[in-house]
């Protein structure tokens, strides 16, 4: 492998994912329209996965689910190695912390550590 190929690729890939997932600046040379299409598509897929894993939150939030999730997603891009269930849990915690979802019901008495 040529010297620096991995480093140059790492930088380019990181720049692209930051733009698509975390609202970072558009990398040079990409079609702006296609960047928006891709960002929307990735967000829709992630939202769909969380909707399946957190149906109660989706019911509770109804029309507010989509805008709330999209706001959460932009400020909390998925990190390498994270799991979809963790994403769903992090979203509901986030929505709860903002008062968009009711507080967690007390769990069974023997489970001392509440999430």
């Amino acid at each position: 492998m040529t010297d620096g190929a991995r480093e140059r690729l790492a930088e380019a890939q990181s720049e692209l994912l930051t733009a698509l997932l975390a609202g970072g600046p558009s990398p040079t040379g990409f079609d702006e329209r296609l960047l928006r299409v891709e960002a929307r598509s990735l967000l829709a897929k992630r939202r769909g996965v969380v909707a399946v894993l957190a149906p109660d939150a989706v019911d509770e939030l109804a029309d507010r689910f989509r805008p709330l999730f999209d706001e959460y997603a932009l400020s909390h891009p998925r990190t390498s190695g994270s799991r979809a269930r963790e994403d769903a849990a992090a979203f509901t915690d986030w929505a709860r912390a903002r008062g968009a979802l009711p507080p967690v019901k007390p769990k069974r008495w023997w489970r001392r550590n509440q999430a």
Partner: protein, 271 residues
């Protein structure tokens, strides 16, 4: 360089359609998403299909072999373990990346078609191959965007990948259609450029077009243009296998059977 044994016409096994897959007529082989399987607890339906002698091929989505990040040994190890548990003749993943800079895209992303990216991909593929018990096939993806400054066409990129790693190809004709529709790539040129003798099998899937963008959803019916591309491929080579992928919004058994029959008809039409 060997060839892949004949697989026939198959369907992607998913837990939601396990009974459907078991009772559909003429399922010659199935594919499972490797990340969804635990070697110690294989689904009963998969065990049943194996007992019937139906080949079950693990298909991975998370190796991220196009990533600048080093190959994740645990993911490769898991894929290999699944292949051994299933007695699979080969495994597959995609020419793509999903992780970079500590972020996870959650979906298959295209790699730049540059020498740098090809060198990294080749190194990663060799690492994976060295740690897998069976051959690896790599699939072309549906991309919604294109990197600037590409030095090779997609076909040239895959051809060189095969030459340098001896991997097999898994060609998804729905992805070819998606790229033609969304990015203006030429599927015929793609088919001309890839080494068809290294074709392991073919994917066929449905999608939907919204606002002028074709989305490779695997949740809608197979478009006629996709079957036309299968015919185009069939006019050049007799593929060892063709597999229908359906991942959501599952239709009736008869609709899935009809889509498999349509695939068989295309293959036979060029016999």
């Amino acid at each position: 360089m060997g060839a892949v044994d004949r697989l026939g016409v198959g369907i992607g096994w998913r837990a939601e359609i396990d009974l459907t897959v078991e009772r559909l007529p003429d399922v010659d082989f199935v594919e499972v998403v490797a990340e969804n399987l635990h070697v110690e607890h294989l689904p009963e339906s998969i065990v049943l299909l194996r007992e019937r002698g139906v080949p079950v091929l693990p298909h991975a989505v998370s190796l991220s072999l196009g990533s600048a990040d080093p190959v994740d040994a645990h993911r490769v190890e898991h894929l290999g373990a699944v292949a051994e548990a299933l007695g699979a003749p080969l495994v597959s993943d995609h020419v793509c990346f999903v992780r970079a800079g500590g972020l996870d895209s959650g979906h298959l992303m295209p790699v730049p078609r540059t020498r740098d990216a090809l060198d990294v991909l080749v190194a990663n593929v060799r690492t994976a191959q060295a740690n897998l018990p069976v051959p690896l096939a790599l699939e072309n993806i549906a991309a919604l965007l294109e990197w600037p400054d590409g030095e090779l066409t997609e076909g040239q990129f895959l051809a060189e990948l095969v030459e340098r790693t001896d991997c097999f190809l898994l060609i998804d004709v729905a992805n070819l259609h998606a790229n033609a529709r969304n990015l203006g790539t030429d599927p015929n040129r793609f088919l001309d450029e890839i080494p068809l003798e290294r074709l392991a099998y073919v994917h066929v899937a449905g999608g939907v077009e919204t606002d002028g963008v074709y989305h490779d959803t695997h949740a809608h019916a197979v478009h006629p243009e996709v079957l036309d591309l299968l015919g185009e491929l069939r006019s050049r080579v007799d593929p060892p296998g063709v597999l229908l992928e359906r991942d959501d919004n599952y239709p009736s058994d008869s609709e899935l059977a009809a889509e498999m029959a349509a695939i068989r008809a295309v293959l036979a039409g060029h016999g």
